[in-house]
Subunit: 315 residues, 6 copies
């Protein structure tokens, strides 16, 4: 269960209202790489991990809980950047002068201009945060990746933290408010911290490459198909050793000819690798056994109970 | 900020795996009336309430936090209903017999059958909960209503709790597992409790009808347009007193004729009401003043800070 | 079947084109709380009501039909606010001067500026209304709530009318056109009227609390969990009598301790209530019987026919 | 404004409940080519047509209104196919036996099976139609095409009717109920009728090819790029005369070489056509003038009023 | 398989950056009528056509491949219109002056203004094209129509090309850059060319009306229901011959009376047509036989292989 | 531009039709981790890379092109798994017996059963592939990550390949067709190959941690907040050295107390790190300079042209 502490994890402040930046900042409230996405992603991944991998469960829930706390920080900042507008919208009886509080220059014309930039703050949500991104797209469950395998999920998380980090980096270039910059810098840095946590956790799961259980087919795991014209560009991604399996890259200069000659690659033989169909199959069986046992030994087949309870003093 | 307690708020248990009911139960995990929707809705509504209405903020955050805790209960139940599948999916090297654990009757054929019922548990999410509904639609921010006005938001919440309640009622008819029924009954009852909390809170906001600030135009607030043929069906919704404003319903038997005669209703006069354009306008001004003052007196115009911090001992 | 009368229900007019306000007004054409949502919601709810509750069916169809008529009013207003643009877009051979008609100040630069505010009016829809909201999100079936139970559906409708009302209230603050204000005031007032119709209809369905058929579990229906820190905020939502069931609120000051002590709430006993598990079950059976009979007595089990036809003179 | 006649346009009947076909039939209620899509598409297209093209407006509104009436027929059929379920869902106190009414063979197991096929009928919508397609995807405004130009919109409609027709054709293969077949055949035939109405209307708009106003560039309007390998397949789409402009198809056997030789097609000259840059430009101006004048002469620039009203007797 | 040639099909150039037009141009990159939609639509339609209709397959794949090449042209143009921004976003350490390169007038204020017009270029995507439309809506599979019947699919394509054409026509009015106009004119013209290809191909499929296989019911195929009031507007869409089947339009002046008199149209008899229930059924059988045979004779029932391979020299 | 080779990259075959597996396989055609997503993601990322990082552009386009070729392989396999159905759907005049070809056991009942599992193959798409996932959700642009920074984008790609790999691994457990297994194994292996390409390419971009340009704030980059109760779980993600920056993890046992004591973390000092605010700022400037220069030196500020053309012989 969750418990709410009214104080924010970080002391978020604003110098003055700035509805335009509030609008941009929605990207991290309800956007594809925002705090809600992160919190929900780690939270969902934690369920299948709880019984077989309680240490990873603990980490995922710690970070998920922190991300919910960050969502609150972002929401509070947006709310403070919108201050004044909510009150003015209630002043329905008078000629509204909502924007006077912002720099003194703006009246109705300015208000309408703002309204067109992010109209739903004004005509729908009444000046509060909402689960949309900076362009008004509603939050979507499609943002979230959970695949029930930690060697995959942790990599999804590393990538997710990378994206969240760059979005904060971009956002920092669009505000001059020192308080807001301070808050965004904290949030950006936490993405860097989480990135490292997930990377460290991934390293404790061995073997973790290829992700999942099944091994690669050695006929196709080290081939690079040159699918475009022009002079051949070569680099460590198509020459030398492959970084994961340590095979030697095979560069297929003319994929069409190669496909024709191999009857659609079926007759291709492994090259530049010590892995064979047989050793690959053996490794699949080994990893398969490890993972299955880890899970089966921890997860009951029949009756199941998520928590046990003890008086608090016993804790 | 949030804090996570590893014990569930309710002691969720299952008698045995049941992936089919897990699939139905997703409706309350990532569906339109599910726990995530509720938690996020009250959480978002809390931001604009914090400074002007700290008592409502406290209630909204208490309930939002409880809903996050219910989301966890639903997720844990789904996970336990899927137990065994996750482990079998890792057994990639062997002929999978994923379904043997479910009643002993089912093998691959049964598995495929299940897969077609909710394929993404098996081929995408690897047997864990996901933010989708019982038909696989991803969670959407469009489910959430927050309009920056408590006389509206609390009514949205009352309706939301009603819907969540009926969905649990329907779900209860599709499982025989006594543990699961116990959990669903708890969750269903909490919707009834929250319904009453929101209703009680709404009553403390006066006036609260019409919702918002502006009063209705007395020419149109008590007319009922009989837009369909057949004999006239009469009831308290079109005869007698209107329940909110206490006006007398005016039944427009032939809307087309009435529209023609009144030049598109412009020339219609108020009937069956003591409210006049003038008194309505006066009331709008009064309510407007009340609400604006409530907000303006509490929300600073310039620098703002969400929380203050004090050593824990001082608390 | 429907019949279309070319005259609008309300005499909608505009003083002059105003594409910016047209863009905002889309919120009520294709938005989450707009007229299309309302019309479709009541229309869908009417189907299961037709045979068992013909009086409610009549009301739902009357209001649905009126909402379709309002959708037409909003569409017509948007079209008139865009007047001139459609014609200019056809003037593809000349240097377009679309915006000259709006105040004389604006040329191409202004046009592009408009285009960026709501580009799809110009580059996609060719200056006509479209089923999107004020930020360009396409209309979604997720906006619509229909749950096959009138004690739920009518509450969804009361909330929906509340939201539609506040959106018109907000919109009214962003136009100075007296004709448009007149139209919006009419539409806003009708939401207030419909709110009262649904409330009156709900009162005729007894019992209607809790919504649906199943009664609440008295162990959990009157507890308030204090899920956040800080001093306890008390109000009628957590002290005194509960408004629906008339039980006495039980305030759980320390939910974590309480959950631990009650083995995850399982061992909690009802307090502050006269309802027992037994009386609740009895009531569930009673309501269950009432509702089932209402429906079963009206809906044939085999062959069914929706309408009967008689020569018009016989009507 | 709309008026509702309680009798359906077509006498829809069912022989007995069939929730499985109800589920398929949703495709035409809330699906991408269903009745709602059609009704809303023609309705939206009618707004920009009203003042400049009142005859097309009349046709679009007639057909839109008929499509709303068809939506009602489909909804009524779905409701009758679900009969019995709604009542059983209210029987929450008893062991539900919802499916007994369907062939006598099915009990809870069967019920759950159904639930998994289209769970939301049972656990969300309580056995009534809903704006989703046969796979549960919510209706989306993206289904609707309106581009503010009748030479485009009418073609969109012809295609839309074609798709709606084939979906009814497919659906007819999945039911044996003679009453349902009768209704579907009526609805399918009306798509064929509407197709012809739109085609006839398009022919009255001259010129209507290319759609819109601007003429094609004669360098590129009659070239066919052979973008794939294998022997050249030739047909009237790449040899002989082009059907719209009457130019002669130019077959570019080797697009890559041609692009290289023409500096990215910039230096390509018109071939196989009498149209020149000059005559194309002249035609653009002519069509431009026609269309602009049609619209400008009919649509006022300032104050505008959608309807005029007269006592019904005068009509 | 595909092969990529680094040179664009058309020599796309820009005179200078213009992020605002880049934002509009997204409509044709990730929008409902854009190049991605077209490419994917024809590509999907090609699969069921490959074995039974190899000539149509060749055409569909040629055009699909060209549309992918157009997608690349649009993306390249957007990228060039955004030039400079990507580099500035990396200049995170300095006070950013992203907009100086655009006309010299714009600094941070201007930048924020741009950001609000299409914020995701700046705060999410880092100045590159993205699969969204001009209002930021993500690309959706719902844009694509493929119904597994060429008499339907080709009509969907004709309509799709019409819409794509008008969007380019609209876009051309919002840029002054001669290079960009040149590119857009090429792309617009290609839509005109494709339109004619699909029309020519459709003509080779006989019979192709009604689309699909089933014939219309002669009782309903030539009736026009006058569903709205006002004087009767008559035109070739409701008087004279129907363009597809050559029947005579029957104008139902008073649909309500007609429906009542015919017991919901069931008792209506065919009028103004030589087609009878019998001849229609016979024709359905004939077309059914033709199409079934075309497909069955080409598609194997058991083992199947998509391609055969031969050494390139043999080709 | 693209060129299409009619032969598939891999010789895809099926043993017999299997519409159920076809339905599952849609996950990799139009699903969140499918081939379309991969192709479009790398294609979009290539645009901003083309001028500053031509080697990465070449790699991204090679892999994108291969993914389009894989999309074709998946589509062809789905089509072959559906063989027979398309033809039967045309047999509209006869009692359809679509499923006889599948094992001989299944007739209409079976057909309807299939239809309910993935109805849109039958009633909408006419037995061909479509851009949906295994549950019928339409493809969405939200699946695609492109953030305009290769240190982020390549990490997104590594995660994307991991997810695509595990989905193939899961799918392989639901078919017994040896031909289909062969194809899926090829496709799964290619994800492993691409993973390694992206990893090798990322390593050539130095520095690449943290992703983007801005450095982390040393006060927050190495702290681990223990946000949940229970005994402390320790591992390399919260003790020892951080893997990216080489700082020492600081474990915050009681986050609430720490937040209170540091005035919302503002007064926290860096611990366990040699990085200071100053050195971090200096590094930000350095990386900033590197990246900005890489881009600015390659991307022209004014006129720009994407390709240059030369006669093919010159290539």
């Amino acid at each position: 269960m969750f418990y709410h502490v009214k104080e924010l994890q970080f002391n978020a402040r604003v110098s003055k209202p700035d509805p335009r930046f509030a609008s941009l900042l929605l990207e991290q409230f309800g956007g594809a790489n925002g705090e809600l996405k992160a919190a929900l992603q780690y939270f969902a991944q934690a369920f299948p991990a709880k019984q077989p991998y309680p240490d990873k469960y603990d980490m995922l829930m710690d970070i998920a809980t922190e991300e919910f706390s960050h969502l609150e920080i972002v929401g509070a900042t947006i709310q403070m950047l919108l201050n004044g507008i909510n009150g003015e919208l209630k002043d329905a009886a008078e000629k509204s002068e909502i924007m006077q509080l912002m720099d003194g220059t703006s009246k109705k014309e300015s208000l309408i201009h703002e309204a067109l930039s992010n109209p739903q703050f004004l005509v729908l949500h009444g000046a509060g945060p909402t689960y949309k991104d900076s362009q008004g797209n509603p939050f979507s469950g499609t943002y979230i990746n959970c695949n029930g395998d930690l060697t995959v999920d942790l990599r999804s998380n590393i990538a997710a933290e990378s994206r969240a980090k760059i979005v904060y980096e971009y956002l920092l270039q669009f505000t001059d408010d020192p308080y807001v910059k301070e808050t965004l810098t904290f949030l950006m840095t936490r993405e860097v911290a989480h990135f490292q946590m997930f990377e460290a956790a991934l390293a404790t799961l061995q073997p973790n490459f290829p992700p999942g259980v099944m091994q690669a087919d050695p006929r196709y795991s080290n081939t690079y198909f040159n699918m475009s014209n022009g002079e051949s560009v070569r680099g460590p991604w198509n020459e030398g050793k492959t970084p994961g399996l340590g095979e030697t890259w095979q560069y297929i200069e003319d994929p069409l000819a190669h496909v024709m000659e191999t009857d659609g690659l079926i007759n291709r033989k492994p090259e530049g690798t010590d892995i064979t169909a047989k050793t690959a199959e053996k490794k699949t069986k080994e990893v398969s056994k490890i993972r299955t046992n880890e899970i089966k030994s921890a997860v009951p087949k029949g009756k199941n109970q998520w928590s046990t309870y003890a008086p608090l003093t016993a804790k």
